[in-house]
Symmetry: C2
Subunit: 309 residues, 2 copies
């Protein structure tokens, strides 16, 4: 296993409104969150994405400063970067999309850089399943681990392609509603079984503030949601999660169920930072010491002694 | 601390419909579930409740066979036992009450038996706060631990009395929606702070399939929800939880935060049995060995190694 991590996803501008405030145009996109999360681990992480000529130098510099390899990021002259704006409701669990401007995304033809065609780990962020499949087909060596995310839009409208993709990945990481939507099973245990049967050896079901479940056949691991006094902006939580999860495994160089458990906690810890500020702010400035402390907090949160006699 | 546990609550007949089936009139009521859960621990457990002359001998015999002290259970001649019927919707998280016949409950004047006036632990099940307060006032010795439950109806209509009660208990155990309803805080961390400020040193917030949180000031413990393939009937889950939680503490004879953590797991394990069959069935036949195994399952579910370097 080499330490190369190839990440497919969007680099975007977002405008976000939550009950706590409103941003102007800020840096967003799943590849951005994934990359920033991954940058805290020892990996050679390359992003595969597309941006427009409006993409600001300061944001390119930020990504470069985090040692992210941008050879796979195409910049299209005269085109604009993918833009999304949305508003979170009072409970922060639901959101309404105000505006989506696909812009460069409509022209995105991912081309895996030579240096990443033998990456041991590929992380397919939430995007058109056709593009996710295309990236896999360009790998010259079968990766040791392929991780994927998706969302309701692709489940509804691209189901056949999505199923083709799911059959080819090792880990699928989706939220509880998406798991129910794909499998038509309400019980998450049953949903995980269906998802296993579709291909992936590992199924991760994210439950927002309630944590996450990791399934490997009959083995189940449950990561708690860290009870936070304030969730400021949930944008990017799932991407931070899967970025931290995957990059931890690359750094570790091993992919057992026990490693996956720690990876789920690492991802949860990163997501818990992300939601405490708008956009990528918390993820950018978080230190490794802070991350280690938070992982310890997750451990303390669930540890107990069995003394029942 | 003596091993006496006084339980105030209803003994009832229920008729339950879930997506998986429908019962006739079956044994129910919070004191019933609490007592059956408590019967798995070494305590002297006395129930304080009221039943009608229609209450069947087989059900009295069942409670007696579990070594529950029924001196505090009044049987009113010519009156009928409290009856509730309800229907759970497809996701099992919501239910509609079809019928409530208070019957004997309207005449309930709890009288704590002499032998239980010095009980070290009092568990006030979900009932009119006036009755819960009345029971406390009859204790000749201040209990070491008073635990209470309540529900939306009392929060809406008996708020003043409820606040008076909350100020007098050590542990309040309610679900997430009730916590939000009482405190008007969405964040459960903030809700727990408000509840602490109202009196109780310990706050337990039950989150159904997502587990439970235990708060003691800034210390937080998170019990996972055991992922179950099938939840058959959620009735009595919260009562089984609090019954197991409290009876474990009585048996243990110590009330530290660490003991409380294990108690939350014990309660969660009991609740996980309850929901797997209609009514009290699972709770009746469960063995201590099965309980110990399930507690171990809760431990395995959340244990992980920190190896992040």
């Amino acid at each position: 296993m080499n330490n190369k991590l190839l990440v497919l996803g969007t680099i975007a501008y977002d405008a976000i409104e939550t009950p706590f405030g409103k941003t102007g145009k800020i840096l967003g996109g799943c590849a951005t969150y994934i990359g920033l999360a991954a940058s805290h681990f020892k990996t050679q992480c390359g992003l595969l994405s597309i941006i427009g000529s409006d993409f600001e130098t300061q944001h390119l510099d930020l990504l470069k400063s985090k040692k992210l390899d941008l050879e796979g990021v195409e910049q299209l002259e005269g085109e604009k970067t993918f833009f999304w704006s949305g508003k979170y409701h009072n409970d922060l669990n639901t959101r309404t999309t105000i505006d989506t401007q696909l812009n460069v995304l409509t022209k995105f033809k991912p081309k895996v850089p030579e240096d990443f065609k033998d990456a041991s780990v590929v992380l397919l962020g939430n995007l058109d399943p056709n593009l996710q499949l295309e990236v896999l087909s360009q790998m010259t060596q079968k990766p040791d681990l392929v991780v994927m995310d998706t969302m309701n839009f692709w489940i509804e409208s691209y189901r056949e392609k999505l199923d083709e993709l799911i059959a080819k990945v090792d880990v699928i990481s989706i939220n509880d509603e998406e798991a129910r939507q794909i499998t038509q099973k309400h019980s998450l245990v049953e949903a995980a079984k269906e998802l296993h049967a579709m291909g992936p050896q590992y199924v991760v079901i994210k439950k927002g503030e309630h944590g996450a479940l990791l399934f490997n056949g009959d083995d189940i691991f449950c990561a708690p949601g860290l009870p936070l006094e304030e969730v400021f902006d949930p944008t990017g939580a799932g991407d931070s999660f899967i970025g931290g999860f995957t990059a931890y495994l690359v750094q570790r160089g091993k992919i057992t169920f026990d490693d996956m458990k720690t990876a789920v906690i690492v991802g949860s810890a990163l997501a818990s930072f992300t939601v405490q500020e708008f956009g990528t702010k918390a993820l950018e400035k978080m230190t490794f010491v802070q991350l280690a402390q938070r992982i310890q907090a997750f451990k303390s949160l669930t540890e107990f002694e069995i003394e029942i006699t």
